[in-house]
């Protein structure tokens, strides 16, 4: 596939007890927390409200056997937030699954691509 041609996106979601436990939005948020060092910074980075970012992180952590983030001292919105080893593992697994899926399906994706108008 050329860069200007069609492109393929896989989106993986893990459903757990009726809601989405892990999906592209939560993974992007974890990556933003890692980059920014806080939930407020991550929320700004993703153009999301602090409230929504906090809620998503909280929801994720309550779904996990062990939390993905760790709040650092310094009070409410001011305090930092870092990823735990579990948080790092979730990002690595999620991005790894995407890569594996693309690689495994390359020839089928190419065949689908051939059916599109040039």
């Amino acid at each position: 596939m050329s860069a200007s041609g069609p492109h393929v996106r896989f989106r993986m979601r893990i459903h757990h007890e009726g809601s989405i436990a892990i999906g592209p939005g939560k993974i992007a948020l974890l990556e933003a927390v890692r980059l920014q060092g806080s939930i407020s910074g991550a929320a700004r980075h993703l153009n999301m409200s602090y409230r929504r970012a906090w809620m998503l992180i909280d929801e994720l952590n309550r779904t996990l056997a062990s939390p993905a983030t760790h709040a650092e001292m310094g009070g409410q919105r001011g305090g930092g937030c870092v990823l735990t080893p579990v948080g790092e593992q979730i990002i690595a697994l999620y991005r790894g699954i995407e890569e594996t899926a693309y690689a495994a399906c390359a020839s089928q994706i190419d065949a689908m691509d051939q059916l599109l108008k040039r």
Copy 2:
């Protein structure tokens, strides 16, 4: 993974010239057309308006080098609609890609699953 535990969904979308050329909605619609033998039947089956179903099929066909469906004689809404060999091929490729992706990622998905609360 147990049947009652978390379940994983891959969703593939092929973007082409700024819009989604092929995605889960259009594939489900093609499958419904195959089952029902008409766009109106497919629309009812999917609880979708005839207008929307027709528009999605039209959009899909205009993206493809060769159309996925063929209208049978009998006038407007009354007429039947059958899949062309290209339509069958698109469904087979799409569902095949999903299966390949799940199979290739099984151990990584399992590792992710282990991180969720029981």
